[in-house]
């Protein structure tokens, strides 16, 4: 049972992706600000600069997997193939950002905590998130039927989001080293103003990068389908 491919307008021939370029420029600008214009943290020194990659990547990872679950649930309801493609694109981008979190974490942890890896609650949670969505991508690769792949992926995407609170709770019952959230406390943010501004800019530019990458990946999926269709004809 193969669902008919949705006929969409052929994507524009221009390779130029203005949004991706803009997002990359925004991230670069964020870094210039973070490295040159933001004060060096007194105790941690330059190592703290990694914070401006680490925290926004973690935010994007959670956003991406939220989108996977939401698009999956909407797919089961509306059966619109575009939703499945959004979920697929978002999962791929999410895995990349999660990998970024898992790589920058140890780099920051070594100089600051004195260890590359620790079974801290949030670290462990991120690692398991990574496993869930790598499994998601492996499963997609093992399915040929489009409608079946979309349904299975939606189910896994939704169940994955249900799993997160349970993993969080179970790893929390082990004690944790990680700093408590210090940013989203509107009453009394404990981060100095300069750093907070840089961090918020980093959140925005990373979100833009996420959107641009999902859009690029989505268009790639559409192009691939057109190529496959053209080959069949």
């Amino acid at each position: 049972m193969t669902a008919p491919m949705t006929r969409q307008a052929p994507p524009s021939r221009r390779v130029f992706d203005w949004m991706l370029l803009l997002a990359i420029a925004a991230v670069v600008a964020t870094y210039v600000r973070a490295i040159v214009f933001t004060p060096v943290e007194r105790l941690q020194g330059p190592a703290q600069k990694i914070f401006y990659i680490h925290a926004p990547s973690a935010w994007v990872a959670f956003l991406a997997f939220g989108v996977v679950a939401f698009a999956g649930a909407m797919y089961l309801w509306l059966k619109d193939e575009r939703l499945d493609r959004i979920a697929e694109s978002s999962a791929e981008v999410g895995v990349i950002f999660t990998t970024g979190v898992l790589l920058t974490g140890p780099m920051w942890g070594k100089p600051v905590w004195g260890t590359w890896w620790t079974w801290d609650a949030r670290l462990t949670l991120t690692l398991f998130l990574w496993f869930v969505y790598v499994g998601y991508l492996v499963m997609r690769g093992a399915l040929d039927d489009r409608a079946q792949r979309a349904r299975f992926s939606a189910v896994l995407g939704i169940l994955g989001s249900l799993l997160i609170p349970f993993i969080h709770l179970s790893v929390y019952l082990f004690r944790t080293l990680h700093p408590e959230p210090i940013v989203l406390k509107p009453s009394a943010p404990s981060l100095p103003g300069e750093m907070l501004t840089t961090l918020l800019i980093a959140f925005l530019s990373f979100t833009l990068l996420y959107l641009a990458l999902v859009r690029a990946r989505y268009r790639l999926g559409v192009l691939r389908d057109h190529a496959a269709l053209a080959e069949e004809e």
Partner: protein, 227 residues
Amino acid sequence: MRPDLLRAAAMVARKDLTIEFRTKTAFFAASAFTLLAIVIFFFAWDPTAVSAIDLAPGVLWVIFTFSGLLGLQRSFNVEHADRAMDALLAAPIARESIYLGKAAANLVFVLAVQVLAIPAVALFYNAPMGHAAGGLALIAVLAAIGLVAVGTLFSSIASNTRLAELLLPVVVLPFFVPIVMAAAQSTGRIMAGRPLAESASWLQLLAGYDLVFAAACMLAFPYTLEE
């Protein structure tokens, strides 16, 4: 829940258990695997550094998930022979009944293996468990329900993919993480003679997991079948 849903589920479960009872292939395979794994694990540590009784809970619950996978894998693979799945889908029963029936049969299977595994661990690891039998039984039932709820759904998914046997562990093991953690932690405590109340938060976690995933997986199951 409608009574006919449960009646149909009971029929599906009885069918699966009859197949298993007459062939006994999966049960013997899973039992042999469990015993082997328990023995092999024993030699993977230096007995002078880590005492066997400290290893026992971890070994027990890690092996529980792996031997559970053996039974789960089979759950939907048997339906692919002679396309029996088509007959099951054509039967005038709700698809939720298929899920519930399969899950119930898997639960019996997993618990039967556990009935063998727990005394085996007690014997080989010289870990007396008699005083903790009640608590252990509670943990085993709670852990098995969660394992089977998620595992049955993903067994249905994995059996439809090209990777089949390879895909199931990759997708399902992250889901078993909270189960293994909660079961192993609470088992360790009650084996050390501490009161069950001390493990209350772990047991609540297990019970919550069972409720959420049994409901979610039953709702999601129809989407994993041909429409």
